[in-house]
Amino acid sequence: MTPAALLFTLALAADPVAFVAVAPGYPGTTVEAQPSMDAFAAALATQAGLPSGSIVAAYFEKDRPGAERLQQGDAGFGMVSLPFFLREADALHLEARLVASQKGTGPTEVWALVAKKGRVTAPASLDGWQVNSIAGYVPAFVTGTALQGWGRMPANVKVVQTSQVLSSLRKAAAGENVAVLLDGAQAAALPSLPFASELEVVARSAPLPTGIVVTVGKRLPADRWKLLEKGLRQLADRPEGAAALEAIRLQGFVPLDPQPLAAARKAYGAAAK
């Protein structure tokens, strides 16, 4: 190794950069996910040709702690859910770079609004209703981005965040004034429920990006992001990288299609006003 290369390597190793994953409402806690995140960070460092220990990773299943972690100086990049991105991108200076391709759904997913069969025929049917969703922490995503093509919802619709989606679906099937906005994986699994025949999908979103890989402000020098981007895109090439992706239910990372994201941001902006 030449002195210059050695110095470059030492510089990379001296200051670990943090990868922050934020997926509010999804399973697992920061502590429980740490072994998977450690494996992910190690595999990414190897794939990117960076020294061991040069990347640390953490997962947050709640929006506020995730946002706080992203504000810390070592948080250079991460992966966030689309609702979180729409709400926080400006405040946290998040720049979308890549999209996570999930097992089962791929890089985009279609959200589905589900209600008891026959009770909801148009947005006006939801007058005084509650819409429950794992994305309920960003109401403008639910009413604006996900359901923008369906029409304007009544102003008195109450959007509620819940990770107990099954419970919400039971309430809907029982005839309560509850509709449920499901993400792509949940929507795909709907027919497997024993009471699925009592429910129906009344509206669907356009295909929307799932997890968005972001960089934070200008914390990452361009040359380091270049290495990391290449590492992320090629992570599945090595067995340890494929295993690390498998453990967090991903197939890999693919280039971002800017148009669906721009459309989502526009719809969110209109709904959030």
Binding site: Y26, G28, T29, E246, A247, L250
Partner: protein, 264 residues
Amino acid sequence: MTRPSRLLWLVALLGAGCASALKEPPPISTLQREDRGSVPASALLQEADEEFAKRPDAGAVGKAEGLCLAAAQADEAQVGGLLCAMRAKAWLAEREKGVKDRTDLSVSAVQTGQWCLRRDPASAPCKYWLAVALGLQARDRPVTADDGLKRMVQLLREAAREAPLYDEAGPERVLALLLVRAPGWPVGPGDAEEAIPHARKAVELRPDYPPNQLALGEVLIHNGDKPGGRAALRRAIELAGTEPWSKDPDAPSWVADARALLPR
């Protein structure tokens, strides 16, 4: 049989893979054990019980584990040694901080459970302890979680039907904890509402066993019934401080767990 108390093995997982939770287990003779020559299995099991009673001395529990496996090899017709080995492995794995050692323990507990069911395919205790072991394994080997958690639910339902009082209503208690802690639909079998009747059933079957009240407290709080949950937790603390359970070596950990849940 002394009970596993806290069963903290069950964790919600960020992700869960698709590897099979069960692989062909190695021969029992290759599992680590005490070399006790021709000592009869019954004597080995008695000695193992005495060592296990020294909890929280992890060294003694480790010795108990080896004695249990020696008993399992001394009498290949019975499952007592294998059950006792799984109990010790589960206790150790719940408390082991090192990921590698914990993973080794949980994997070997699963293998022991597989042998248990091979010896006695209808044994509810074997099903119960294999379920516990699968939960432990899922924590540190997430790729086995999809398959492992599904098998857990099935094994625990069968054990609850066939031996509801085993391990102080253990099958219903563990099933309740699995349902409240595991990832929910569609990722995993978690279903917090469904956990309520199972936690109540465990309490109905063995109301004075502190971990049953502890499980009910956790389940009720998770479902938003804080007054009900706190009442159950306070009852768990009270029971853990009263004979006979105050003499159980795990009683302090039950109290600690209940107190940790109380402020929620």
